[in-house]
């Protein structure tokens, strides 16, 4: 008889335990209980989010592929496979290894689909850098990403870093990977064909991360709690060999299916490969290569040792597969076979230790969770703008914003990442999105991650829509057609109705914006329980988006290129200060409603910019995000260190307070620069799509001057802005 405290401490409820007994028609063994606990956890089985995830559109402009572990789109004869995943809790405990193994895991999801990883992205969120532990976290996470990603030879090309009090005690580390394959050479994650062999490949199994899946990923945890044995150490060298060996093995045609052992290791890979293949599987644990003696069967089944995979190989071809892996000095051993029933049967020294129908493991219960709008929100959304005093020193405000950690340059971070290896990165980090050419074609892809979680906190539905809109806008500014999304949904405890309300609204927001923009959601990840004794994180539905550039020579970057060009603003600046960086950094308030988002307007602005870029009319394009128009203009001036170009903005018109027009974060705005002779052509395009168009000034000089009426309210040297913006993050980190 299993004691309630045992299954409860594994994260199973009384009802769930009863259901296990019903399914098995007997008491579970320890191994079985452990297997159910991880398979039914949020991490693997999505019991609390599955209903809502169905809302995300699976169709878009490009044919969509939804695989077992990742998804993608088809572009000509290529499949672009991508996915994002969180490694929040492991990183909070041990930032370097936590982030490193996060990269390792997401990249395995890509190459086990048969795609060669071509780029990684990272979306990072921490509490304020005034707190030493947050500095330690940021340094450690960046170190982990560079350590793992650089060694692998997969460029880390883009990302974002935000700072907010809500991430004190629970940082977010979301990592995304993109891979490319010939569309008919993709691999599946199933086991099929009675008698085919199940092979274990990669590193040996140790007691790493045992229980990590359910204990680390699905429970609130308190800082300093003893979680030591669960820390996994990343081994990028082995992973690099695994990539090469796997792609070589897949090319033989002898591999039926393949799955990486990520969270819940062997449990997850055996049961899911059997379940997807509608097959049974029998495995002998004694055959599993191990690092430590005397491991219990359940420990072997739960281990999260890194850099391992399970492969279903055609009978008789085992030797050939083994040869490939051993060429790369990797283990590859037959540990079992596909059977003709639908049961996962785990043996230890011949004795059955688990015998479960594959489907009953993989079909986790589904819960319709209660939700309720948080009571504080109505109050929070009220912002009396007349109570906010307009600044006297606009120069000071702009400098302050440029130096704020969220807005300042992230060069200190991305210079530590090899972002050029594989020689595809045609737009390097430092512009709105990075662009990678696809060798052998004329095309390129652009990639970005985005989410302003303060918007989602103030208004989860609209905030999530904005995350999608902004990601798309960043791609458009780089010359790409927004194509498809992967998401990483980071929230608090879903069993609390206020948190679940945030989750529900964010998912609905992502779904509606993606549908409107005709973008499919090809993959994603849910991370709940992101809270600590210090509180809950802001709702953070991180959007990873890729776009397609039809002609790799028609890409665009955000910085002004030369003097005497015309500066255009597409979109409208409204009197919106709610949720802005300005309101927080200058007035110390997080209040108001999130800026409006009119998806029709958004689309008009994006179409105009993209069309103009594709026609070669545009010299630079940059969207307005945190810090509003003034920061966007400053970034246009300073983000190419080798050639900084000033600007005079003297014909800006708006219907709002000056600080709102300059620092407010009205959506759907893009700053373009172009030669004089292109202006009217761009105006025509804007008219055709119905995008608000105004000429606001011209490039040139060594200063950014912004005039309102006849008054110069901003007048800063590009050098001065650059200094503030470029060094700020590093000096905060090194404090």
């Amino acid at each position: 008889m299993v004691k309630p405290e045992v299954y409860r401490s594994l994260g199973l409820s009384d009802e769930e335990y009863k259901r296990i007994i019903d399914l098995l028609k007997r008491e579970p063994s320890t191994t079985e209980l452990a297997m159910f606990s991880v398979e039914w956890s949020e991490h693997c089985g999505y019991p609390r989010s599955r209903i809502l995830l169905k809302l995300l559109p699976k169709k878009g402009k490009y044919p969509t592929l939804i695989g077992e572990d990742s998804g993608g789109i088809i572009v000509d004869d290529l499949a672009i496979i991508f996915k994002m995943e969180s490694h929040n809790h492991p990183s909070q405990i041990e930032p370097k290894q936590g982030a490193a193994t996060g990269i390792g895991g997401i990249i395995r999801d890509i190459f086990t689909a048969g795609a060669r990883p071509i780029a990684s992205l990272n979306s990072l969120r921490f509490g304020p850098l005034t707190e030493p532990y947050n500095r330690y976290l940021l340094r450690g996470v960046v170190d982990g990403i560079q350590f793992y990603g650089n060694c692998l030879g997969v460029p880390t090309v883009a990302g974002e870093i935000y700072f907010d009090e809500s991430y004190n005690g629970n940082c977010l580390v979301n990592v995304m990977s993109i891979g490319v394959a010939k569309k008919d050479e993709l691999a599946r994650a199933f086991a099929r064909g009675v008698g085919n062999s199940i092979m274990y490949v990669g590193s040996s199994t140790g007691r790493d991360g045992i229980g990590g899946c359910s204990v680390l990923a699905s429970h609130e945890f308190k800082e300093g709690e003893e979680k030591r044995p669960t820390v996994q150490i990343g081994d990028p060298f082995t992973e690099k060999c695994l990539i090469e060996a796997t792609l070589e093995a897949l090319a033989t045609g002898h591999v039926v299916g393949i799955k990486d052992m990520g969270a819940a290791g062997l449990t997850c890979s055996t049961s899911e490969m059997a379940s997807v293949g509608n097959s049974g599987m029998e495995v002998e644990l004694q055959l599993v290569p191990r690092r430590e003696a005397d491991m219990e069967p359940w420990e072997i089944m739960m281990s999260e040792s890194q850099e391992r995979m399970l492969v279903c190989v055609k009978k008789g071809k085992e030797k050939e597969i083994e040869k490939i892996f051993s060429k790369w000095d990797l283990h590859a051993v037959v540990i079992g076979k596909v059977t003709d029933d639908d049961i996962v049967r785990i043996k230890d020294k011949g004795k059955v230790v688990a015998e479960i129908k594959a489907h009953s493991l993989t079909q986790a219960p589904v819960y319709d969770m209660p939700y309720k709008k948080p009571a504080y929100l109505d109050d929070l959304n009220k912002l009396d703008i007349t109570k906010i005093s307009e600044p006297k020193d606009y120069n000071g405000v702009l400098l302050k914003l440029l130096g704020s950690p969220t807005i300042s340059s992230k060069v200190w971070v991305y210079e530590q990442y090899d972002h050029m290896v594989q020689t595809n990165t045609v737009t390097l980090p430092g512009s709105d999105a990075s662009v990678l050419r696809l060798k052998g074609t004329n095309k390129a892809i652009a990639a970005t991650t985005d989410c302003n979680s303060r918007y989602c906190y103030l208004n989860p539905y609209k905030g999530a829509q904005i995350a999608v809109a902004e990601a798309a806008r960043n791609l458009v500014c780089s010359g790409a057609e927004p194509a498809a999304v992967t998401d990483c949904l980071n929230f608090g405890n879903p069993e609390r109705p206020d948190r679940f309300w945030q989750f529900k609204n964010c998912v609905e927001g992502v779904a509606s914006a993606c549908k409107f923009l005709n973008i499919s959601v090809v993959s994603g990840n849910v991370s709940f329980y992101n809270e600590s004794i210090k509180g809950v994180v802001n709702p953070t539905p991180t959007i990873g988006m890729i776009g397609i550039v039809d002609d790799a020579h028609q890409v665009c970057t955000q910085y002004f290129k030369k003097e005497k060009e015309i500066i255009i603003l597409l979109g409208i600046s409204k009197e919106e200060l709610g949720g802005s960086e300005y309101l927080k950094e200058v007035h110390g308030q997080v209040k108001g409603d999130t800026p409006d988002l009119d998806l029709w307007l958004e689309q008009a602005v994006q179409r105009t910019a993209l069309d103009a870029i594709r026609k070669g009319l545009v010299s630079s394009a940059h969207d307005c995000s945190e810090g509003g128009l003034a920061v966007a203009l400053a970034e246009c001036c300073i983000s190419n260190k080798e050639n900084m170009v000033g600007a005079v903005i003297d014909s800006l018109t708006f219907d709002a307070r000056k600080d709102a027009a300059l620092f407010g974060e009205s959506q759907s705005r893009i700053v373009l620069s172009c030669s004089k002779k292109s202006v009217h052509k761009i105006r025509d395009i804007a008219e055709r799509f119905g995008a608000p168009f105004q000429i606001i000034g011209r490039t040139g000089g060594k200063e950014l001057e912004i005039l309102v009426g006849k008054r110069k309210i901003i007048n800063l040297s590009v050098e001065g802005m650059f200094e503030r913006w470029i060094d700020s993050l590093q000096s905060l980190i090194m404090a």
Binding site: Q97, D208, R228, V231
Partner: protein, 82 residues
């Protein structure tokens, strides 16, 4: 003046991929007698302190705070006079 040698090693339960790779390398160079390799850090510190007891206490602090990562590492040290 005291000199301390601080030895920082990965905890026994933690995997050491570096050590494994180096073991393989030694193996293929013909050093078959090598059963295990683990990689750690050696931090040599000169301290402007004369009292060993005091040095011990300070070193323990430094190790816990900065030099070793208690989540995955153990440390020990040896103090001598110079």
């Amino acid at each position: 003046m005291l000199k301390a040698e601080i030895y920082i090693t990965l905890k026994k339960t933690v995997a050491d991929p570096q050590g494994l790779t180096i073991k393989h390398a030694l193996d293929s160079l013909g050093y078959k007698e090598v059963e295990e390799v683990r990689i750690g850090k050696l931090v040599t510190v000169k301290l402007n302190i004369n009292d060993k007891k005091e040095a011990e206490q300070r070193l323990n602090e430094m190790c816990k705070k900065l030099l070793a990562n208690p989540i995955i590492e153990d440390y020990s040290f040896k103090i001598e006079e110079v």
